[in-house]
Symmetry: D2
């Protein structure tokens, strides 16, 4: 479980671009950005105490409702990418926003929208422990940066 102290700093994650993630244009294939976002989102959930890798049954597994990716500059083999993650709750939907940086360059910004489903695959309200983490997150890391505002404009 993450303490409030750790949560005051926005979460980020690192990914080294692999050879197998490139395509014949010699850049990262665009479908891989959703994989980078997922790596970062899962690491965030783990860091925030919502996901125990060894107990998947109790895990933070969510339906993906929508994804959106903006490509600002191409990433290439060997790049060391930093992926910033922001999370907030909007009604019963969990919204994540991402920014991928290579040093000062903004490579990509994007968002994914998720929901929890019951056993009949109907949308339900996220459980209390999830809501609690999202609410603390939004409070400690408010969505005020320009790139976030642009993403939802």
């Amino acid at each position: 479980m993450t303490s409030a102290a750790t949560m005051t700093s926005a979460f980020h994650y690192h990914h080294r671009v692999q050879f197998y993630e490139t395509d014949l244009m010699r850049i990262v294939h665009h479908s891989n950005y959703l994989k980078f976002y997922e790596e970062a989102r899962v690491a965030w959930a783990h860091e925030r105490g919502l996901l125990d890798y060894q107990k998947l049954e109790s895990a933070f597994s969510l339906a993906v409702i929508e994804t959106r990716v903006f490509h600002h500059k191409p990433a290439v083999f060997g790049d060391h990418l930093k992926i910033e993650v922001k999370a907030k709750l909007e009604g019963i939907r969990m919204i994540f926003a991402y920014r991928i940086l290579r040093d000062e360059d903004v490579i990509s910004t994007g968002k994914t929208v998720h929901a929890t489903l019951d056993l009949n695959l109907k949308l339900i309200r996220p459980p209390q422990n999830i809501r609690s983490v999202f609410n603390k997150e939004a409070e400690l890391n408010p969505w005020t940066e320009t790139w976030l505002l642009n993403l939802f404009a």
Copy 2:
């Protein structure tokens, strides 16, 4: 080269969901929808005379600027998906819209935005043959269906 006659019917493409496209939730992993869209987009470009598989140098290779995917229902292993493709030009940007169906079920709707770049990676106007195909396409298959309007609302 495709005749105007063929172009009057909207383009669609078929994809059989493979085992390796599933994840541990027993559904298609969401990153694969961008691959299905790409398969359909490339087949469209081939059908419309813009891409010769054997001469990649003269090919229709475009930067991806933005992708957006809405997930309405999950697809599973073995599904026989129909992917409808719509294309239009908006200034110097090429816009594709997609709808994935399994029989009557709408699985996904989405769009991708592309641009042609010059050798210095600056955005340029698409060449005349591309503009011509897109303009004919939009004329013969106008974007009037409800799902398209919702996608860009």
Copy 3:
């Protein structure tokens, strides 16, 4: 269910190389050959009556024990590949051999070895319907071609 008549011809499957299957060397990334083999193996199982896409519970899902791939020539974007499939039973193991052709060119040869597991993940003898299909297959399509002999030399 496939009749003995159909089984007299060796099974083959077609795959069009997609853009997303290439890497920065401008050829198909080597990990994708295992995906092409799987597509062909699943299509074979479907054709031979062992797999109903709509009833996965009763499906032909097998543990992969070993894979081996020889790369003879590179495949590139847009290639129309023909994948030949051979199957036989060896004790409790199911062996598949594959040859990928682009016109007359041999692109790849390889094999995969599979087994059925019980609920405790112990190797068990394949069920009767699987054994029956494999035995008929080996009888009607004996492994006599030179490429098969080389593969197991």
Copy 4:
């Protein structure tokens, strides 16, 4: 450049299994093992001074001639895998062997065979700097473990 001192310890690499690497059997899809091997092989080449991520032109990019993977136990989402890498030269061919461990469990053993090609895609002898690194590697980390001997039996 790596000093002889560093080379005395066999090289290993870590990989956290991602959600997108699983399939509907709830285990890692078998094609991903070739990606894990590649990650480890590239990291080895980087560590041994053969690959500069920022200067791909001078990089250690090799044709893949053969791959072989043995699956001993399944890996699952969240597993923290350790990948051991061994390298040696055999004539003009570069041979890598890999062992993937999850704590004490052996998940996979395998090998990949590579060659350098000239501009006409003919096999050539690897350049001097590559030969030198491989020769030192084999000297300092001889292939004596049982798992290596079994792999090439």
